[in-house]
Amino acid sequence: MFYIYCPYCGEHREEEEFHPKGQAHLERPKEPEACSDEEWGDYLFFRDNPRGVHHEMWVHAVGCRKFFNMTRHTVSYEILETYKMGEQPSITADSQNQPREAAAVSHKEGVRA
């Protein structure tokens, strides 16, 4: 169960207070009518789904009710940072040392009982 730092409340809170809301930094096309069906479909449904560093949006639903962003590793589940809506991440997949990450990924896998 995650322990999440809410950038608005300024402290760590239990995952039960939050709801995940999918990929972060999705922007609604400014002129929807100018979009093709394909572009609109991409906006609605097609998502980054990386095995590794991921930016996602969460809401502090039982708390300050603010939406915010989280950079999290989708294999280790380590939360690398949280940041307010409108801000940009300081950690990205590119900024991470790739070889080390790759190693971490294969390390975390493995067979389970």
Partner: protein, 1016 residues
């Protein structure tokens, strides 16, 4: 019942039991005695009970092997009453209490003489791993029959058949340092962390804290080690910042240092929790711990050696033998043969000898054993047979002898003659496996260490392992590791270290251990007698070898093919041996075969403890309106709508008979259509929207227009997601130019508020608007029917005149003396006033309405009547007419879509996708059954051609269907492919009973099509 047996194997002195008190207990119908401090296992051993169970597959007799959580055999059914039954209790972890009643989980007619055992003996060779994949295939129809017989043999214990009388609860804990395991390492760590002032929790699964120190031969500061334990516990108990939890197992280690601790508060007292001060105690408590730092001082499990006949009762772990002697004052036999690969095993022989029993021999796999304990054994005159091992245990219901021979470990064969030593007990030690289970739960992979012949845990952030859990076994080193871990953990949480002086431990020399897992036999593994690896699941070395021959090469495949490690002990004893055997067969190293990663739980946890208080009346919140008491007293039946309890209908007693729902609803419907009815509509979501951009915001989230809605007016709105599918609806009133009150569906309230916040916070932060939920603040009473105006007029100062208070207006004033906002909107098609008052006044207003309503025959109605009335008017219910695949156009609600609004509102773009603009989409229509007596089934599928063969093309389904008392006919709403163009056409509804109904496609508005009645 027979006379209690004598405790023939109880030693006269020693152990941590209280010989001054006697407890009696029953096992398999026999009465026995034990003492406080005993576990059920130690008491059974004291009484000479050899066979405690029958094995799962082969029904072989089984005895106690271990003294702790790793025990695979001694799984018993506990409980003296039906409701108090507990299945699958591990006797080694069950404290003895007076009156304890237990029985073996398998064995028929009993464990001593078991008929299935015969089947196992005869049929065993026909049941290699995976045999069921290879048989029972013909004929195909017979599998269910075969399975019925297979299921007869399933399971260990049994579920109680009555409801649990006990309760459970949760504690949400937060601490700086959580120490798991209070043995030498854990106590040292806890002490160091506690002295720094950190918030420390210490959990230990046993009845007493102290771990192996409670039964250790070793001294600390020259005194028995348990004296140091007592002193440390005393100190820890004195700190405010320390929580000590004995009988508490850390069963799961989850993300970000969230650990669950299962505290068994009363299981040592009885099978159901005792009553204290008139209150039944909590049987178990689950601590949900968020720890800053975790210290895993969980020790190590001894590995048995795998030799033929190693499952016959009387085969024990060497360490368990010591524990029974030193902690429980029980020598589990008279004549011991010890088979070991290392020095640690020697302690069992020394303890055995000191207990006054005979050590026949120590059989050591090493050619030239050295070390202080080896020397001690020699000094005691114990015979040591070097370079050898017990290759086979003799006996069936109890060990009668040990076949011992020289072995060549590398060549994996027996290299010398075999001698048989008469004995009744064989203890074995193949070294230790660190308890890495909890660390595994986090996803971190363990690492194999050749020097300790075991896996050490992989560690995520904020966790350390120390002592046995870290592969460190010498007591002095264990204590040092513990202190260091405690200091480090406290420091990481900002608590400066305090000095902790280590107690002086003996420095004992130990010789190197040898890597021995499976012991060779004269015969090849596949041909020799069974050598058990996983005792609970009857997995043998031969089974593992066979699996590797069949191509199962990954340890995960082997485990699954043989079922190794899938028992309730999760392979604590067997997994490493199994991997070693697989590695031998595949000619690979152990880490090449894979690793062993454990899943929660460390030991099984009672469902009730995980559920806690969230059961029965507290399973899920029941949300009530301010008028709930009235509904209950009026005898309402309730409908679950989300978490709300809403009155469904109000059955009345008519000449002594309670109305059916159909009768009640018919009466309620007519009352509304002819007189006046009242509905508690308080559950509708209500959102207060304020700000200069409120109107613009509404225009973006609703499909229809809001720019011209005047203050004092209301409007119905429809909401889509951005995929164009309808998601909610409701009426929003304009309270002031910058101020709106939005209503949502009952079930959608929370989601819609979050939806509005989502768009505001992420896409349109520039809009100046705020949303607040006022759902619970207002109680809403819908007064509807031709007499609504007359009734309300009696108790309000609001001018209800039809011209000054028009349909879709709202006004404020007083109702029954209470400030109220009254909305003239209608979901029934009748003249309607929705009265909103602060909820604390609701009961007064409601009762006043009834006082004045008597003369109008004011009738309360529930959600069922509401549904009938709205359906007669063709009003949709989101979630009933819609299912996430329905657009406003599909609903025929073109009038509610503002295509020319300047902003591309949510859902608009999606409506012109190729599939959403299709013409033959399923569209909402009315259905009039050809036979007016017929009420179509909700969910009935619609076809155009009822004669079509199966599969029959379906063109839609009935979404709502009722009997209309006012139309005196059944009627329905439905979605039908291209339905809007098919008015007047006939459709068919083929039913399960073979009947096919006919219906005509009609308008969705069945009653008062011009809408005159709501405008009166």
């Amino acid at each position: 019942m027979s006379q209690s047996k004598q405790q023939v194997y109880r030693l006269n002195t020693g152990g941590r039991i209280d010989r001054s008190r006697t407890l009696s207990f029953t096992f398999n119908g026999e009465r026995y005695q034990g003492h406080p401090g005993d576990t059920l296992a130690s008491a059974l051993l004291a009484n000479g009970v050899d066979i405690v169970n029958r094995s799962f597959k082969y029904s072989r007799p089984r005895g106690i092997v271990a003294a702790g959580a790793e025990e695979p055999n001694a799984i018993v059914q506990l409980g003296s009453s039906e409701a108090g039954q507990v299945p699958n209790v591990r006797a080694t972890q069950q404290a003895l209490y007076d009156g304890l009643t237990a029985s073996s989980t398998n064995g028929w007619p009993n464990v001593q003489r078991d008929l299935m055992g015969l089947v196992g003996k005869l049929g065993g060779q026909f049941m290699p791993p995976g045999f069921y994949y290879k048989t029972f295939m013909a004929p195909a129809s017979m599998w269910l029959t075969y399975e019925k017989y297979i299921r007869k043999a399933a399971g260990l214990g049994r579920s109680p058949m009555e409801t649990d009388p006990d309760s459970y609860d949760h504690f949400n804990q937060h601490c700086d340092v959580l120490v798991v395991g209070a043995g030498a390492a854990g106590l040292a760590a806890a002490l160091a962390a506690a002295r720094s002032g950190a918030r420390v929790m210490v959990a230990d699964e046993q009845e007493e804290m102290g771990g192996s120190l409670l039964a250790s031969r070793e001294t600390l500061e020259g005194k028995p080690a348990d004296q140091w334990v007592a002193r440390v516990l005393d100190e820890l108990a004195g700190y405010d910042n320390v929580t000590l939890l004995p009988r508490t197992t850390a069963n799961g280690y989850h993300d970000h240092n969230f650990v669950t601790l299962h505290e068994r508060r009363t299981e040592h007292l009885g099978d159901t929790a005792p009553v204290e001060n008139g209150h039944r105690q909590v049987r178990a408590r689950l601590h949900r711990v968020r720890a800053g730092q975790v210290i895993l001082s969980t020790g190590a499990h001894e590995r048995p050696l795998v030799y033929a006949g190693n499952d016959v009762p009387g085969n024990l772990l060497a360490g368990a033998v010591s524990t029974y002697i030193r902690r429980y004052g029980v020598a589990p036999g008279r004549k011991l043969v010890l088979s070991t690969s290392n020095d640690y095993g020697y302690r069992a022989a020394l303890d055995w000898k000191e207990a006054g029993c005979e050590v026949v021999a120590i059989v050591d796999a090493r050619e030239a054993p050295t070390g202080d304990w080896v020397d001690a054994a020699r000094a005691q005159g114990i015979k040591i047979i070097a370079g050898s091992a017990v290759i086979e245990a003799k006996g069936s219901n109890r060990v009668t002898g040990a076949r011992v021979a020289k072995i060549d470990i590398d060549a994996f064969n027996v290299s010398g003659p075999v001698q048989e030593l008469a004995c009744d007990t064989i203890a074995s030690s193949g070294g230790y496996s660190p308890v890495i289970h909890l660390a595994s739960h986090t996803g971190a992979r363990p690492t194999w260490r050749d020097d300790i012949l075991g896996f050490v845990p992989g560690l995520v952030k904020g966790v350390q392992a120390c002592g046995g859990a870290n592969g460190c076994y010498a007591l002095a080193d264990v204590l040092a590791e513990g202190v260091e871990a405690g200091i480090k953990a406290a420091a990481a949480m900002g608590h400066a270290a305090q000095t902790v002086s280590l107690p002086s431990a003996e420095h004992l020399q130990q010789g190197p251990a040898v890597a021995l897992f499976q012991v060779p036999h004269e015969k090849p593994t596949l041909r020799g007698p069974k050598q058990f690896v996983d005792l609970q699941n009857d997995v043998t070395a031969a089974g593992i070898e066979l699996a590797t021959r069949e191509g199962f090469e990954s340890i995960e495949h082997i485990k699954r093919y043989t079922a190794m490690g899938f028992g309730t002990d999760q392979g604590k004893l067997g997994n490493i041996n199994g991997m070693a055997i697989a590695a031998r067969c595949l000619n690979r190293s152990i880490p090449e075969v894979g690793t062993t990663v454990f899943r929660p739980n460390y030991t099984p946890v009672t469902f009730g403890a995980i559920v806690g208080r969230h059961c029965r009346d507290l399973f899920d919140p029941e949300r009530y309106t301010a008028l709930h008491q009235w509904h209950v007293e009026r005898g309402a039946e309730f409908e679950d709508v989300g978490q709300w309890k809403r009155p469904w209908y109000y059955p009345q007693k008519v000449s002594g008979k309670t109305e059916t729902m159909h009768e009640a609803v018919a009466r309620e419907c007519l009352a509304v259509r002819e007189k006046v009815g009242i509905l508690d509509a308080s559950t509708l979501g209500k959102i207060d929207i304020q700000g200069p951009d409120a109107r613009e915001f509404l225009a973006r989230v609703y499909t229809n227009k809001w720019e011209k809605l005047a203050v004092g007016r209301c409007r119905y709105g429809l909401m889509c997601k951005d995929d164009g599918m309808v998601t909610d609806d409701g009426v929003t009133g304009c309270l002031a130019d910058n101020h709106f009150l939005m209503t949502t569906t009952t079930g959608g309230a929370a989601a819609i508020l979050e939806w509005l916040e989502l768009w505001h916070q992420t896409e349109w932060p520039e809009l100046d608007v705020y949303f607040s939920s006022v759902t619970d603040h207002w109680a809403t009473m819908t007064v509807t029917g031709p007499d609504a105006r007359k009734l309300l007029g009696e108790i309000t100062d609001i001018d209800l005149d039809r011209d000054s208070f028009k349909f879709m207006d709202w006004r404020s004033g007083k109702v029954a003396g209470v400030p109220a906002r009254v909305f003239r909107i209608s979901f029934t098609g009748e003249l309607t006033f929705e009265i909103n008052v602060q909820a604390n006044y609701a009961m007064h207003v409601w009762q006043t309405l009834f006082k004045h309503g008597e003369k109008y025959d004011l009738t309360p109605y529930g959600t069922e009547t509401m549904h009938v009335l709205r359906a007669e008017k063709g009003f949709i219910i989101v979630g009933q007419e819609t299912d996430g695949s329905v657009t406003p156009e599909d609903l025929g609600m073109h009038w509610c879509v503002g295509y020319d609004k300047p902003y591309s509102w949510i859902g608009k773009r999606a409506l012109t996708r190729s599939d959403t603009k299709r013409e033959n989409r399923k569209q909402l229509v009315g259905l009039k059954p050809k036979d007016p007596k017929v009420v179509l089934e909700e969910g009935a599928q619609i076809v155009f051609d009822p004669k079509h063969a199966i599969p029959m093309p379906m063109v839609g389904h009935v979404t709502s269907s009722y009997y209309s008392p006012v139309l005196e006919s059944g009627f329905a709403l439905a979605v039908v492919k291209g339905g809007h163009q098919k008015l007047g056409e006939t459709v068919y509804l083929p039913m399960a009973d073979g009947q096919t109904f006919e219906a005509e496609i009609v308008s969705t508005i069945f009653y008062d099509p011009k809408g005159e009645r709501q405008n009166v």
